[in-house]
């Protein structure tokens, strides 16, 4: 059975001991964001997630969503849980107080997302998508649009969606066909078919606010001709209540591999009334406001799933008895077999899950904190530096954390043996739920291209230097600490390879762009391993200072996991490096018709 307790001690370790997140409370507007408030918020969030959302995860997967005549019904219990969720004000956490938000840092929002995603990723997507719509409207909408829609999205009585994909255009939005015709009153008539629209239709909220990409009649071709519109399911009355039905209908829902309790909809727009967000033809820019936040959010889905996968597998491994320990001294002769956690290969799986998850958490929270600094720091130079790092690390968080989420779920099935393959144990669901996270919000291949094609060359490599310089400086200062050498040695080696690979890819790509494409996924993974190694080195540094404290067991476990990462996981960088250096020629040799 799924086993999960919110890892609040782990979370506090990263927030308070590694990142010193208290620094956020020094930023204007975040004065209340102190560690004791974080604690109080997370305690309550954990209670709600574990008591209300987790029990609906397996039943929601089994039942799925129901579609009938354009109406979608979510699985039993979802409506009640959503009501509790919005009554608690959880949709308002990081939103602007001007629209009823609580004005808390994005970092705290990310942490709460981790808890939600561990317990029920399908549920989490309903408020998650609304938050994406909130971001785009808050940043690019007119005051009138903001006043009309934001308060109800913030309090959760209305939800939001992102309508991008069409049957023939997924990754390549330049192929878009949906049209927007001016109606002469400042609004537009939107027509077209959108597919794969998460939470496009549901029975949780009284109105659904679609953010839709479409082309104006005078639009230039390609992605430079796309505009963003807000299209409500019900047109709001003057008093703010939902009024007449707009011309947007859910045509069907998809039957899919995972996240079955979240509705994935075909949305048909037939002259639906909509209003422009931001400038005409500049919709992609607005959409990326949503996408960047959403990509971090998808990373948290990977993290959340890896955490519950680990906890479930660890509990099972301590309980399930099969075979004898290979070490006679460790055999338990009061029983006829030993718990499988005695077996080295089971430990290999559990520690691979855990050592990755803990470093992924540190990385994601660091990016969350940088996001807040990039918005609120009074010094423009600090803001720019943080913004650069967020831009650089977002594809890493999205791709690596979701790859790890899937791998961890898969390992959890393996630890369970045959029982892991059985639905009622709840573990195979994690695999199916995790699989989409590697695909949506830009496939992980697209994330890799974003990293090598966009982030690497940006401002003559300025973004890369924002990461490389602090790592170099850290290695240099820490080298004087003899207890740190066992962690710094492997990190320095991998970091050196990353720098060489970076120079090589940048140089080759300049002459032949296909080389960047060929190297991209390996390069993203190499970069990720170095970033996680950097996180582990910092976590080990904290643990070394506290290992003699009264929480000895916690810090000793940190050091063992740091060691495991350096000895058993980081070496993968060597193979990645060799792959990258071999270049991409061989990939392109086979003619397409030979496939």
């Amino acid at each position: 059975m799924a086993t999960y307790a919110a890892p609040l001690r782990e979370i506090r370790f990263v927030l308070n001991e590694v990142l010193n997140a208290e620094q956020l409370s020094k930023l204007p507007g975040y004065e209340d964001a102190t560690p004791d408030l974080f604690d109080a918020v997370l305690e309550e969030a954990a209670k709600l997630c574990v008591n209300e959302l987790l029990p609906l995860n397996l039943s929601g997967d089994k039942e799925g969503c129901h579609y009938e005549n354009g109406v979608v019904r979510t699985p039993a219990g979802f409506k009640e849980a959503y009501t509790k969720f919005i009554d608690g004000g959880w949709t308002s956490l990081s939103c602007d107080p001007d629209f009823g938000g609580q004005g808390m840092p994005h970092l705290l929002e990310l942490v709460v997302q981790e808890l939600i995603c561990s317990c029920n990723i399908s549920f989490g997507m309903y408020p998650g998508l609304s938050h994406g719509a909130y971001n785009a409207l808050a940043q690019h909408g007119t005051d009138e649009l903001k006043q009309r829609y934001l308060p109800k999205i913030v309090d959760g009585t209305w939800s939001g969606t992102m309508c991008l994909t069409e049957p023939h255009c997924g990754t390549d939005l330049g192929l878009m066909r949906s049209k927007a015709e001016p109606r002469g009153d400042g609004s537009y008539a939107i027509s077209g078919t959108k597919i794969f629209i998460s939470a496009g239709e549901q029975d949780l909220t009284e109105n659904i606010i679609h953010l839709v990409l479409a082309k104006l009649p005078d639009a230039p071709p390609g992605v430079k001709g796309i505009s963003l519109f807000v299209v409500p399911k019900f047109l709001p009355n003057e008093d703010g209540t939902p009024g007449i039905r707009n011309g947007v209908m859910c045509g069907s829902i998809e039957h899919k591999m995972g996240i079955k309790a979240n509705s994935t909809c075909v949305m048909n727009f037939e002259g639906a009334q909509g209003w422009l967000i931001g400038e005409a033809h500049k919709g992609m820019r607005c959409m990326f406001t949503m996408m960047n936040a959403a990509r971090l959010g998808v990373g948290m889905q990977g993290l959340g799933l890896s955490e519950i996968s680990y906890q479930t597998a660890a509990a099972y491994a301590k309980d399930r008895r099969q075979m004898r320990s290979l070490d006679p001294k460790k055999q338990d002769h009061t029983a006829s077999a030993d718990p499988i956690i005695v077996h080295p290969d089971v430990r290999r799986m559990l520690m691979t899950m855990r050592a990755n998850t803990e470093a992924c958490r540190a990385l994601a929270y660091w990016v969350g904190m940088l996001l807040d600094i990039s918005h609120k720091h009074p010094d423009p130079e600090k803001r720019l530096e943080a913004d650069d790092l967020v831009a650089l690390l977002t594809p890493i968080v999205k791709a690596y954390l979701t790859d790890h989420g899937f791998n961890a779920a898969n390992l959890a099935v393996q630890v369970h043996g045959g029982h892991g393959y059985i639905h009622d144990y709840g573990v195979e669901q994690f695999v199916r739920d995790a699989r989409i996270t590697q695909i949506y919000e830009g496939t992980n291949g697209i994330q890799a291209l974003d990293l090598v094609g966009r982030k690497m060359p940006q401002n003559m490599g300025r973004l890369m230097r924002r990461f490389f310089h602090p790592v170099s400086a850290y290695l240099e200062t820490q080298m004087e600490n003899p207890n740190m050498l066992e962690f710094l040695g492997p990190l320095a080696k991998a970091f050196g390879k990353l720098q060489m690979a970076t120079a090589t890819v940048a140089q080759k790509a300049f002459a032949r762009p296909e080389e960047a494409g060929a190297a991209s996924s390996d390069y993203l993974r190499l970069f990720s391993l170095v970033a996680l190694g950097y996180m582990w080195a910092q976590m080990a540094e904290v643990a070394l200072k506290k290992v003699e404290s009264d929480d000895k067991a916690f810090y000793e476990a940190k050091l063992i996991n740091a060691r495991f990462f350096m000895q058993k996981l980081l070496p993968e960088h060597g193979a990645l490096f060799v792959n990258i250096m071999a270049g991409g020629k061989v990939l392109m040799e086979l003619p397409a018709e030979a496939f």
Partner: protein, 249 residues
Amino acid sequence: MKLLVAVKRVIDYNVKVRVKADQTGVDLANVKMSMNPFDEIAVEEAVRLKEAGIATEVVVVSLGVLQSQETLRTALAMGADRAILVQTDAELQPLAVAKLLKAVVDKEAPQLVILGKQAIDDDSNQTGQMLAALLDWPQATFASKVVVAGSEATVTREIDGGLETLAVSLPAIITTDLRLNEPRYASLPNIMKAKKKPLDVIDPASLGVDIAPRLTTLKVTEPPKRQGGVKVASVADLVAKLRTEAKVI
């Protein structure tokens, strides 16, 4: 009407309790602590009385270490108006707690004091009763339903034989049982507001109460491990064993 609710910070009900190696007590180092579940029910009941317009102010009080402030903040986030911590690192036994609470009651003059029937750490089930005796107020313990009207509270109690209904005149003491209500989740805005609500910390010495323990803990041990059972062949066999071996019938 002013209500006073007493809350205790205890080891979390989900935590597997470990006895210290030297048998002096239970290991509390780095263990998750939270509000005693019966006290959560007491806070919930008080907040509901306030929401129903019967109570005007809900004051929560805790006695113990500095970290009990977190427990008080939880109560404030659930809807209590202000908090008092009588801060001490000393071991507090039920009589000392009752005496300290009496001193707080004398100062605050509430019309009703609601407490959990017992705390899940020591399971004493004494404080409410002792407080009633010290104040010479009526008491209604193990409440599963509370109706306050005018100067009287009608309380349904869970007793061995079923349910008993008592009317007590106010001021009075009520202790809560599990079925009284289901405590709410604190909402995010209320968690934020709780941070700004008043929380007074007072020194037990200023209350002029003798809190010296009257009982000495000799040692703390885990309950004996459960022995494996046996399968009996027949009902007659079972009855015989119950009679001759277990000696329960």
